[in-house]
């Protein structure tokens, strides 16, 4: 039972000052530090920082346009631009390690072998508190989206479990019923779940000349998906005995409390960071004021 005004949370053994994290890929702490200066570190908005997704090789990201403003939300097709594992370890990790909060590194690959390479390399780094598995992409061998298939997900988590003692957080996708996937991953050794990822969406160009986004489809996020996210968070929290990080349109302390009441142990703020760089700390403060 959380006492009033004590927002501390234990997430898989990681002590958090409050339950508000960032969603992967929705806040670049290195860029924000360069823009705003050291005050970012003094007033860091989140109780833990989740990195952008790291892939084995560098990726440039998708061709523009990458954003579409939806009603009460955004559709993005960023395409996971990142420096690759080598560039991340050399250039980004030292800077992320200087953040005043625990670091969770998000990883994604298209095969169990590549995932293993990422997890092994990151597991060796003491700066990293936990690893989040982005399973929203297809396994190149089976063609199945790992996060939409209980068997694929169980097999991946089993293979990675033996490689690391760090907590493994499985980021679930809302494209399929996440409950069987979560139950399979729990049996295979996952430590926590985060959900929801964005929903696949393909906006059309208002000029009537086809798709708007350079990569045709992207992911829908923001308040418009909050109710769907609440339902999925509640279903997963009821079905598993592991901590759940709830996200999907969290924009206020009241939203955060809804996710905690639905069974989440912590919440992540994503799209709202775009509107307000201090959204994380504002939401934590609002949550505290709600008592």
């Amino acid at each position: 039972m959380i006492e009033a005004r004590d927002l501390r949370v234990d997430l898989c053994g990681i002590e958090l000052a409050h339950p508000v994290l960032n969603g992967s890929g929705t806040f670049d702490a290195i860029a924000a530090h360069d823009v705003f200066g050291d005050i970012l570190l003094e007033r860091f908005p989140f109780s833990a920082f989740v990195s952008k997704t790291i892939t084995p090789e560098p990726r440039p990201g998708n061709p523009p346009p990458r954003l579409w403003e939806e009603t009460d939300g955004v559709i993005n097709s960023i395409g996971l631009p990142n420096k690759g594992l080598g560039g991340f370890l050399e250039k980004d990790l030292p800077r992320l390690a200087a953040l005043p909060v625990p670091l969770i590194v998000s990883v994604m690959a298209t095969s169990a072998e590549e995932f293993a390479g990422l997890v092994q390399a990151i597991s060796e780094r003491s700066e990293v508190a936990a690893i989040e598995l982005n399973v929203s992409c297809p396994n190149v061998k089976s063609g199945l989206v790992v996060g939409e298939s209980p068997d694929e997900c169980a097999s991946l988590v089993s293979a990675l479990r033996v490689l690391t003692e760090k907590p493994l957080i499985v980021k679930l996708t809302p494209g399929a019923d996440p409950v069987p996937v979560a139950m399979a991953a729990e049996t295979s050794g996952a430590d926590a779940f985060s959900l929801v990822n964005t929903l696949k969406a393909s906006p059309l160009s208002p000029a009537g000349d086809g798709h708007w986004l350079g990569a045709v489809s992207g992911g829908l996020s923001g308040p418009t998906i909050k109710d769907l996210a609440l339902a999925q968070v509640s279903a997963v929290a009821d079905a598993v005995g592991l901590p759940v990080i709830g996200m999907g349109g969290v924009s206020s302390g009241a939203d955060a409390r809804s996710f905690l009441e639905a069974g989440a142990s912590a919440v992540a703020v994503g799209t709202e960071n775009f509107r307000d760089p201090e959204a994380g700390s504002r939401i934590a403060r609002e949550l505290e004021d709600l008592g």
């Binding site: 360069d34 440039p60 998708n62 990458r66 954003l67 708007w212």
Partner: protein, 289 residues
């Protein structure tokens, strides 16, 4: 020592802050909305702010949802803060709401900024450059108005070429501290009938070619024409580009602009002012929704 630079980067206050609207005036078909910033941070010409409204953002229709990027068009430094002017052309739900709040003179706009990279002085762009040619189109004249004032302060001579489609899409002329603006309009209602790049072509064929740097902001097709003309003439140019920005501080990765060397830049971090030589094309970013 006289000042030789157009300003130094000063980190913006962290977070989103309300800035009170202190002025609102029609400027041709646009509106100059002025807000007061007690932080006192002085932006460089070419830098921008992410603006939104305290209420009805989003409105009942669910839009505007994301903040909108606005180049700063005027800066007035006072004893207890700075007054910032933004040129607004209401073309969508975001700009409409900004204009509505700005026109009310009682409200506040939420702001993050100043953000991004501004214009550099001619000698910083090209060794030996002593003058500037400013070429703007449509609402893109905004950052050039501030650049012009800053160049005057530095004693750098500049020529100003501005182009508009028609009278319903023209404004901001009153912001230029300059009586010798050369105008071009597509419909011929003022100045040269035709493209503003016709005027640039003439200047680049003359004496300015060897001694000036070109600064430009405007529609993508115009910027691309400027980039190509400058490249062919061997004249350095700085272009203030536009790309849909979700956040303005590097978080969303939405404002990707292709680099000449391959890959993308985030325009909010590495722009909006870029050297023409670094990009593949000036019209390869995305249209703003």
């Amino acid at each position: 020592m006289p000042e030789t630079a157009l300003g130094d980067y000063t980190a913006p206050p962290f977070g989103r802050r309300p800035l009170q609207v202190v002025g609102s005036a029609a400027s041709g078909a646009y509106r100059l909305v002025e807000v007061f910033d007690p932080s006192g941070v002085v932006p460089m010409a070419g830098q921008f702010y992410m603006l939104s409204a305290e209420s009805e953002w989003p409105g009942s229709s669910g839009r505007p949802y994301l903040p909108r990027a606005f180049s700063v068009a005027s800066v007035d430094v006072g004893a207890d803060g700075v007054t910032l002017g933004f040129l607004v052309h209401a073309v969508g739900p975001g700009t409409q709401r900004i204009e509505e709040v700005g026109g009310g003179r009682a409200g506040s706009l939420l702001a993050v900024g100043p953000l991004g990279r501004g214009f550099a002085a001619p000698h910083e762009v090209a060794a030996g450059a002593k003058g500037a040619i400013l070429i703007g189109g449509g609402i893109g004249v905004a950052p050039l108005a501030l650049l012009r004032r800053n160049l005057i302060r530095l004693g750098v001579p500049s020529r100003v070429l501005l182009g508009y489609r028609d009278a319903d899409n023209a404004g901001g002329l009153d912001l230029f501290d300059c009586s010798e603006i050369k105008l071009a309009t597509d419909d011929g209602h003022a100045g040269h009938r035709g493209r503003v790049t016709d005027l640039l072509e003439r200047l680049l064929a003359g004496d300015d070619r060897g001694s000036a740097v070109v600064y430009s902001c405007g529609p993508p097709a115009m910027l691309e024409a400027v980039r190509v003309m400058c490249e062919e003439a061997g004249v350095a140019c700085q272009l203030a580009l536009e790309s849909p920005m979700g956040c303005g501080y590097g978080a969303c990765f939405g404002c990707a602009v292709p680099l000449r060397e391959g890959g993308y830049m985030r325009l909010c971090l590495d722009g909006p002012v870029v050297d023409g030589s670094t990009i593949a094309r000036a019209d390869a970013g995305a249209e703003v929704q």
